[in-house]
Symmetry: C2
Subunit: 172 residues, 2 copies
């Protein structure tokens, strides 16, 4: 059974929407993700660091559409690991664990990896929205489109724009 | 630079001593680790599950002698990753992060991995006290002696009894 490492933030978890919602609740201003194309997340969200360190940020982040359904289907044909950079934000460790248990109850604790660098991850396939994670990975790589990478050439990685595209490629 | 995955519980963190201390504080009885040779941890500690789910268990666990010094020296010649099975015990995630920051301040968040199964870890070397982790690993493996594995043949793994032995082998 082939193995897949699936990122959380920007692939399963809609971090942009969470940041837009938090910005709105504090300022009354609605930021548009279409205005953020090509900007880094830090450029797009002036209060990024404050917000990702806010209690509840990772536990209440909304889902990216299709992720739940497609990961459930992929689980029947692939061995899934959820691999998330989490050790940079200590609060996020327990919150991400709770979030996965809530939204992905079919993912067991054995299948969760909360790490820093992803350079020591060995699976057949990786799905991630950040080049820094994909570039150091040996297997097949999918770049999940997010505003911060939308203008970049995917290079050696295969770009996927949503979970439906992943479903078509990996489940035929 | 070669990479090493180093386990926490039973390699850096003296879980046996912590469990012996907790048993004593509850019962007044001092268990001896020499009586536990060849027993699983669950057989050796009747209150194991209760204790590992106790708040503070992983944050206050004592150090295995030599680990701090030898890992600091190894860090000059190897790229170190601390790889700990933690997602089974959600409380342990933040506590292990805090413990590492306190006792191993030279280990950055990039070098921490809190996982379930270690089957997707790719480093050159792994140091661990459990066969289940070493058996599925592709590189060079060291079995760190703990009472639960002391009677077992190390098989394809190289047994090390303490951090001084690791120092001699990996630093010459």
């Amino acid at each position: 059974m082939k193995t897949i490492a699936i990122d959380m933030d920007g692939v399963l978890a809609d971090v942009y929407q969470q940041l837009i919602d938090m910005h709105y609740s504090e300022s009354g201003i609605t930021l548009k993700s279409s205005d953020m194309v090509g900007m880094t997340e830090a450029e797009a969200f002036p209060h990024l660091l404050k917000h990702v360190h806010t209690k509840g940020f990772f536990e209440t982040v909304p889902l990216i559409p299709g992720g739940q359904e497609v990961v459930a289907e992929l689980s029947k044909q692939y061995k899934i690991f959820i691999v998330s950079a989490a050790t940079e934000f200590p609060l996020s460790l327990t919150e991400k664990h709770n979030w996965l248990n809530k939204h992905f109850p079919f993912i067991s604790w054995q299948q969760m990896v909360f790490c820093g660098s992803k350079e020591i991850i060995k699976t057949d396939i990786m799905i991630d929205d950040h080049f820094k994670n994909l570039d150091v990975f040996d297997g097949k790589t999918f770049l999940f489109t997010q505003p911060h990478n939308e203008k970049s050439s995917p290079g050696k990685h295969e770009r996927v724009n949503n979970w439906n595209e992943i479903k078509k490629i990996l489940l035929g």
